[in-house]
Subunit: 311 residues, 3 copies
């Protein structure tokens, strides 16, 4: 694997999962791997879990960490080829990526989508530019359309919490007041494709995921039917893909409650809006795996870093 951009870049996903679980079992066993090496963390958007867990992962591996809040620490970047840079963008990604990667052995980047131009977002302008112009491997800390470290942490969590050969997993849309990216849902589906699970996707009409993501899975507009006998219910809001970036409904009938959940485990990537996405009762119950999912982010990041640093 050259870059950890999405699960498609991972040659042996099951080995990556095993590595992440091995990191969790003994976080310090590769503490020499990062000696005299540096990881750069570049944030174009806010971050709590990702920021802290990736730093923690780097520290477990003995790496030095350089963190940049692009925007507040730096300046606006230009991404267009051939641009005449006489307005507010002070530096081109060509220079920024080349320079930053000189100071680092790995560069990890977070950059959310615009949610205004679908074809631009799905071309991943920022992540692609870093992969093109940086001289070192790039790690995706959530891009316009994918969040592969979250997906790996989610997969770990399912693996740790089932004895079934083929558990039933449901990905359910939930209401939210703001327009959110499809990145977490996209990556979750991609990982579930690799994992040996029975996946059902449920959402209101108009919230269909990209055809290349949802293809081959059962999709239902009937949340109750979809959730029947589920072992895991992964809940997440996303804005519309077809009417791109729009909030079409905030229907509270889609909020996850204890009654709907039955005996299933509840999963969410966090941050979560209580009593909008999911009820307090679910989050405060032992069926909620959200805190463990966040914990697993550290080991997912460790596995990605190890995979890129080891030949």
């Amino acid at each position: 694997m050259k870059h950890f951009s999405s699960i498609s870049a991972v040659e042996h996903p099951n080995k990556l999962l095993d590595l992440a679980l091995a990191c969790k079992a003994n976080p310090h066993q590769w503490s020499d791997l990062g000696q005299q090496k540096t990881i750069g963390l570049l944030f174009f958007n806010p971050s709590l879990r990702t920021r802290l867990s990736t730093q923690k992962a780097a520290q477990h591996l003995g790496l030095e960490v350089l963190t940049m809040d692009v925007g507040s620490h730096g300046w606006k970047l230009e991404f267009e080829d051939g641009a005449i840079m006489n307005s507010d963008k002070a530096e081109h990604i060509k220079e920024a990526a080349a320079v930053v990667s000189q100071y680092c052995d790995l560069v990890a980047v977070r950059c959310f989508p615009s949610l205004t131009d679908r074809s631009a977002d799905y071309r991943e302008p920022v992540l692609s530019a870093f992969m093109k112009y940086a001289s070192v491997p790039i790690i995706n800390l959530e891009s316009a359309t994918a969040h592969p470290l979250q997906g790996l942490a989610d997969w770990m969590t399912i693996k740790e919490n089932t004895q079934k050969e083929r558990p039933k997993v449901v990905l359910s849309w939930a209401p939210h007041p703001k327009a959110l990216p499809q990145s977490v849902a996209n990556s979750f589906v991609k990982y579930m494709e690799v994992a040996d699970v029975d996946l059902t996707i449920t959402h209101p009409p108009g919230y269909e995921l990209a055809p290349e993501v949802a293809k081959g899975f059962t999709v239902s507009h009937d949340q109750a039917a979809a959730m029947k006998d589920a072992d895991f219910v992964y809940t997440k809001n996303w804005s519309s893909y077809s009417t791109y970036g729009q909030v079409l409904t905030q229907d509270p009938a889609w909020t996850i409650t204890s009654e709907k959940l039955g005996n299933a485990f509840f999963m969410h990537c966090l941050p979560v809006r209580r009593n909008v996405v999911v009820s307090d009762a679910v989050l405060d119950s032992p069926q909620s795996l959200v805190i463990e999912q966040a914990n697993n982010r550290t080991f997912a990041a460790q596995a990605a870093i190890i995979s890129l640093l080891k030949p």
Copy 2:
């Protein structure tokens, strides 16, 4: 001690003082204690001394440091139980505290008061929530009503600068253009209660501290009489407790001058407004202990961390 929330949480304050002084004498003697351990520093408000001295303390102890400027790095938190989170608050403290504490062995939090709702501020909503929902010990880096690391550094400074058995210490209010918390004054009085000193508090009418803080001490509205024969004059502005959060006066007659100070040492927690709180002549004289107080912040933080990490 489970959390370092205020001096009330400290079982043996005199041992803590001795530990802080021992850290100052040999800052690196416990450099193995923090190996493979992480401290998280969460700032809801700006910080200079606290940020740097706590990091420095952590480095002396071999701890890794994860710093978060909540707000600029993260998002707005919800603190109310049962809230329907459909407005601007993206995450509940229940998740935020549980998640952050998973990545850390200690979490240190700075969060100032609103100064608009006294009973809410004195219930310490943020600090209490972290103590309730985090899975690791919490350190108070200045909360709504207390600043115990400052108080410990102040006590160290008095101890280092007196040979008297029972020095006379005066806490004097001083003018300031902005409404400030009572936290520093509250903690200073609490530490002086434990220290063997003769404490007098002086302030204009309307600036009485909370009854549970000032109880048992001499309180005077006559600054000159209060400061007579003082060994140490600790100066600090605070806004009114009775007319909560208000600036009732900025009377320059309360500014500390060399004439008023006599032979006493001058103390202040910094940052200090020159020629408003205290004259240049006092701050630039050898009677000023303010720089040493700031220096002692490192060792106060070290002592607090050691106390929480050691069984």
Copy 3:
């Protein structure tokens, strides 16, 4: 050398250059020098290269790093002696510098000019105040009028890319939409004075550098004539010194193109406005040294730190 404020403070510039090149050849050879030592990095202005390369340099030397974004992390500082601090400035530089330097063995400061008051800027109020009130050596990370770490990195780059005894170096002004400091140009000229090069300066009328900087060098308003047979063309925008801080022209005839450059190497400190300062064709050609200049910033910083830490 007491402080690394400008090249004028460096007793043996050629030894400093050799040290920087030695750091590049073997970055980790002095990794014990910084053990149990701390460098503070204070940013009054945004920074990418400087922030990352100085941290990287510190890590190579085993130093702990404390980074402060003054402004967003802290508060506004007062620099005037005798000020009555009753407005928006919460702390005087006297206290801030004394306190910060207690936590550090070295303090590095970035503070840009106002570009509104020339005599104030050229007195270097912020850098001078830190040198006066801090108790440890100060490193200039770009001040109002100088950028000595950039100048040292630039000198390294020229040294590495010429076999000539006395190469021809041209410093050419270039257009830019915003008013920029003279600091980079000033420091480059000062280093070239020490290096054994043939320096020509070229800019439109009204862009003369300070007399004490340009004195003794060939200055031309004819860019083409100045660039004839150049080995290195260092390009940089600066605002007017005589009509202080003003943008007098943005004439695109001054943009550097491949045609103008001939066989010379192209240099720029970055960030660079593509197709305003210089054409894409130049930057994307092997004649461009800008990425290597940025790389050399790490070793320039390492050399400065070593010089200040070693007796």
